[in-house]
């Protein structure tokens, strides 16, 4: 299969992100088990995916996202897209099928031997099926399931996953939902819409969800608009979620500024300003002073911008007292602007709502919880998935008036 001739890596209108895999990207791969994992792709380096194998990183660079590959040696071959095959119903049932130790007789040693000798996964699976005591008795659906389970174990294929905010949020939600405060993709999407996030908009965010909100807003802004995030650490936090988004590093600083709770106070003068009168005594000293001056300018610009207010919305995902956060920041939100507060728990929001509904500055403070159920859709086998997330967090939304 030919790799399609993709648009230039940084083509407009979405030049905020490269549309193909570049060196330095952290790429999400979907493994045969269905799990997604992030891997750094560096020019001339190697990517190791555990049991599935390893390959030269250069094989992926320049490719569009979303393709499926098979590892052969250290190289990759692109697999054609795989649609579902028709499965015919038979009269088979599991009435006479007994489980037991010797149902599948190939030993671990024999299987390892086959793997080592480079036998293709599909042949290993065929060998297992041939010797399987009960296989022919199974229903066709059961056979499909068996084959898929074995594929997940022996296959040397994987897919690249496009770093859309949906995919990245979904990946984090499955891997470590606590670190993103239980913000499930549906909840995140509602926050963005309720806050009217759009190109050219201006937003304030308090993001203690590992940078999920910052990433989502930057994604929707697409390089047009402004975002100020307020954090409780000295320098801007690492925001680990952003790594998977692969934003263009030269554009992000034009859109995103960071302040902390102290520098966000109007009556506080940051220490940085004091050292600006120094004169450089050597080249190295001058460079250091320039750096410090740049940092001080960036800081004072961000403060000026925040204090000028008229932001379109304020989004909060924080463990700090939401009422205090609002008291600090609400003046910077424009009239008719949106306030969206998220919590993994309902109690902080119900307390907040009880207070806000008595405050004439907040119109219709409302609490919602999102329900999301995924279904398996296969001919003759359509049903809700066995595992469904019980909670994607809670939201409080109000309009500033």
């Amino acid at each position: 299969m030919d790799i399609p001739d993709c648009e230039d890596a940084t083509s407009a209108p979405n030049s905020f992100k490269a549309t193909t895999i570049q060196s330095g990207h952290t790429v999400l791969l979907r493994l045969p088990s269905g799990e997604t994992k992030g891997f750094k792709v560096e020019k001339d380096g190697t990517v190791s995916i555990g049991r599935v194998g390893s390959f030269r990183a250069n094989e992926l660079i320049g490719h569009p996202y979303g393709l499926t590959y098979e590892i052969r040696g250290k190289e990759l071959t692109v697999q054609p897209p795989h649609t579902l095959q028709e499965v015919e119903e038979t009269d088979a049932t599991n009435e006479l099928i007994n489980d037991g130790e010797f149902v599948q007789p190939l030993t671990l040693g024999e299987i390892e031997g086959l793997k080592k000798s480079g036998v293709h996964a599909s042949d290993i699976i065929k060998a297992q099926i041939e010797q399987h005591a009960n296989y022919s008795m199974k229903t066709e659906y059961s056979k499909e399931k068996y084959k898929q389970r074995k594929e997940a174990k022996y296959s040397k294929t994987f897919s690249t996953v496009e770093p859309t905010i949906y995919n990245v949020c979904d990946h984090w939600f499955k891997k470590d939902q606590n670190r993103i405060r239980d913000i499930r993709p549906d909840t995140l999407s509602q926050m963005l819409n309720l806050a009217n996030v759009r190109p050219g908009g201006r937003y304030i965010v308090v993001d203690e969800a590992s940078g999920l909100l910052v990433s989502a807003i930057l994604e929707r802004l697409g390089g047009e608009g402004r975002l100020i995030s307020i954090c409780d650490v000295d320098s801007p936090p690492a925001y680990p979620v952003m790594t998977l988004m692969n934003f263009r590093k030269d554009i992000v600083p034009n859109i995103h500024s960071s302040l902390n709770w102290a520098t966000a106070q109007e009556d506080y003068t940051p220490v940085a300003a004091a050292t600006l009168s120094e004169v450089g005594k050597s080249e190295r000293h001058r460079i250091r002073l320039d750096k410090r001056k740049n940092a001080a300018d960036t800081l004072s610009n961000a403060r000026e911008e925040l204090f000028a207010g008229e932001y379109d919305a304020l989004l909060i995902a924080s463990d700090y007292n939401p009422l205090e956060i609002l008291q600090n920041l609400i003046i910077y939100v424009a009239g008719s602007g949106s306030i969206v507060v998220q919590s993994p728990f309902s109690q902080p929001l119900t307390e907040l709502q009880s207070t806000l509904r008595l405050d004439p500055s907040y119109l219709a403070p409302s609490i919602t919880e999102s329900w999301l159920r995924r279904y398996q859709v296969l001919p003759g086998r359509t049903h809700p998935t066995m595992n469904t997330s019980g909670s994607g967090g809670f939201l409080l939304h109000a309009i500033k008036v």
Binding site: P4, D5, C6, E7, P13, F16, P64, Y65, P81, T83, E162, T164, I165, Y166, P185, D186, S189, Q190, L192, N193, L194, N196, R198, P199, G200, R220, G222, E224, E310, A334, G335, S336, S338, S346, L349, T350, Q353, S354, R357, P360, L363, A364, S366, I367, T368, E369, S370, W371, L372, R373, R374, Y375, Q376, V377, P379, T382, F394, I399, K400, V401
Partner: protein, 261 residues
């Protein structure tokens, strides 16, 4: 789309919020009046006030809030010509289809324009929405609204039956959204409209499971992969403050009652 100025101007479309159930659009036309449950207002009095203002009525019968339109408020205020999509579905679909600044999107059918407004807002002037509606009167009404709301550059509305006649673009869009009674008839057409050289997505919205099964079959036959299906709902939480009554109060009260008897 709508005004981004701080204050309301003559000719603006605003959202008048009376109660959670009474939210309506208003085109500010000096000379006209608004008569509502919460009193009498002159449009002219609303000119020059900041968006978000609370305004008391001229006859002291109450007050209203004058808000800046957003697609979310529009969804709650718009005149329904058809059943519409609401926040939970709109937000989820937008996110799943990776609709963002600059996206090229197809929507069929336009219906009452609820989803259309949200997409136009999300893609901005760098993107484009091709929207199709087979009912002529509804197509005209939607086109009127898009024009009034400053969306005419972002949205191309076509009166057309896409199941029979396909779409008007090829190899062009990143995402297709189908809200049709028989989406399976439009899927091969959708494939032609989607870009050929990058990952693209399609989403079909159906109220009934029978439609879903048929749609999935058609998607599979057309070569779409990673087919998933979701149901999403928004659960509102009402907050009530209760102070549990001390049981001793009941004991005392009953004892007194008994003694009286």
């Amino acid at each position: 789309m709508w005004s981004s100025a701080r204050d309301v101007a003559a000719g603006d479309l605003v959202i008048i919020w009376q109660t959670r159930e009474l939210i309506q659009p208003l085109l500010i036309t000096p000379g006209k009046d608004l008569n509502s449950r919460f009193g009498y207002y002159r449009h002219a009095d609303l000119v020059g006030i900041p968006y978000g203002s609370k305004v008391g009525s001229r006859n002291g019968k109450g007050f209203i809030h004058v808000l800046r339109p957003t697609p979310e408020l529009w969804t709650m205020a718009l005149p329904h010509r058809t059943q519409i999509l609401y926040l939970a579905d709109i937000a989820f679909i937008t996110s799943w289809l990776d609709i963002k600044r600059g996206s090229s999107v197809i929507e069929a059918g336009t219906g009452s324009g609820s989803f259309s407004h949200s997409v136009a807002r999300t893609i901005g002037s760098a993107g484009h929405l091709w929207s199709y509606e087979f009912h002529e009167a509804r197509a005209n009404k939607a086109r009127e609204e898009f024009s009034l709301h400053g969306m005419a550059d972002i949205v191309t509305l076509t009166h057309r039956n896409v199941c029979k006649d396909g779409f008007t673009v090829e190899d062009t869009v990143d995402a297709v959204f189908l809200d049709l009674p028989a989406p399976w008839d439009a899927i091969e057409h959708a494939k032609k409209a989607l870009k050929k050289n990058s990952p693209t997505r399609i989403c079909c919205f159906s109220p009934c499971m029978e439609q879903v099964l048929r749609t999935v079959s058609a998607l599979n036959d057309s070569g779409f992969t990673d087919i998933t299906m979701f149901e999403t709902l928004l659960r509102p939480h009402e907050v009530h403050q209760i102070s549990p009554q001390p049981l001793t109060q009941a004991v005392e009260k009953l004892k007194k009652l008994e003694q009286k008897r």
